[in-house]
Point group: C2
Chain length 257, copies 2
């Protein structure tokens, strides 16, 4: 990974991910989008709905990374404790956010704006709400921590609301080559040399197997300098063709497993 | 979560997960299987292929959890650094494991057992190999750390090899009820009371929406005591029916999103 780029971390909050009930669908979306704006993910954690664990983890991540994104735990039920944990981590009170309360009251109707629903308008003091175009209840940003819903469609719409507010680093770009009938162990020495010569580029090697049984390898170079990436990309192509295999640009088609 | 059960953590190693190139498929498999044998996952971390990050994370997790499972980074290429990182974390040398080398030599043929392939037989001193029925190159266990491949089919076969060696805790069981036309904010107060009355049970509330637009909520109780679970399950059923909605046992059918 390029060491000079700003970095981000993702904290996934929820027993349902740790128990295997729910397949996370947010990591990959955020990873791709954050890479594209130059805030690549450097670490992800998944923690349970436990107050002290969330507070400790948020504190650790916000000290170590430029930006921290959280998903999950911002609904109206007892297991939705993210907002109170973030408030505790920042040492500020959780309080009713009047503008968010007004939006929710208008959405539900004042007579149906029950205490349980008012909970969704409670933000840490000093937080800026992140609009929720899907179901109104907001996320929020406080300091370098961005708190979003866990439901993927809501998380994605919140991220799009947040996107214009995020600083930009240098976008991470990638170049990929793949080939069938090639084995990692036949290219690993030369591949290591290519990596050692270009420490600012991350080179990954990923074996795969099509459902029809054909096997192959994909080589992926990632980095922020397009000229160096292009140069590495040429080396990867040559590395493959030198084995007698045919290099094909990009990732293999869907269906590789 | 039940506090008395042994606990485990998962460390997912690989730039390809953090960049969004690859969708992780191992967390959920391990979460379910570890819950069933009473070693529930309490934390997951995803880290890049960076030596010092892996060593520090392994050390932290193995001190805090009864078992640590890792996936990824055990192939023959330069980005496969898990074995050397685990050796560093345990302060032991990485050395050729003769029995594993013999298996790999037989698999590839002695004349094709190149230095790159020999790398896959290098284990931390004192490690016990985990057989790999798919592609021979082993995982391993050292102390309370279990190192497995990242490719899901290989990881799953390694886990099945490892399973008889793992201690058993009390299995985590779950009870679920769901209903359409019910809203979390209408039940959250009573649900909180049910949770507070049974701190050994974890109750989760998960809103969902079918593709046809119908919305609902699933309530899930998890714990290790079947009698308490059954009692909580009855309370959840009553909670739903008291709103006028029809409680349906279990999770909603596939297609909820």
């Amino acid at each position: 990974m390029t060491k000079t780029s700003p970095s981000s971390a993702l904290l996934i909050i929820g027993n349902e991910i740790l128990s295997g009930r729910t397949q996370d669908a947010n990591l990959r979306f955020l990873a791709k989008n954050l890479g594209e704006i130059g805030l690549p993910l450097r670490e992800v954690r998944v923690v349970p709905d436990v107050h002290e664990v969330i507070v400790r983890t948020v504190d650790e991540l916000r000290a170590r990374f430029n930006h921290v994104f959280t998903t999950g735990g911002i609904g109206p039920t007892h297991d939705d404790i993210t907002a109170e944990c973030i408030a505790a981590a920042f040492g500020v009170p959780l309080e009713l956010h009047p503008a968010s309360a007004a939006l929710l009251a208008a959405h539900y109707g004042q007579e149906n704006f029950t205490p349980a629903r008012q909970r969704m308008a409670m933000l840490p003091r000093g937080a800026t709400p992140i609009a929720n175009p899907v179901s109104v209840a907001p996320g929020f940003t406080i300091g370098n921590v961005h708190v979003m819903a866990g439901v993927p469609s809501i998380m994605q719409s919140m991220f799009m609301e947040l996107l214009p507010e995020l600083p930009r680093g240098t976008p991470v770009q990638s170049r990929a080559w793949h080939a069938v009938d090639i084995y990692e162990s036949l290219i690993s020495d030369k591949l290591r040399k290519i990596q050692e010569d270009e420490p600012l580029i991350d080179i990954g090697s990923y074996p795969w197997r099509f459902k029809d049984g054909r096997k192959g390898v994909t080589l992926v170079a990632k980095g922020t300098d397009p000229a160096i990436l292009d140069s590495v990309s040429e080396k990867l192509k040559t590395l493959i063709s030198d084995t007698g295999a045919t290099p094909v640009e990009g990732e293999p088609e869907q269906g590789a497993a």
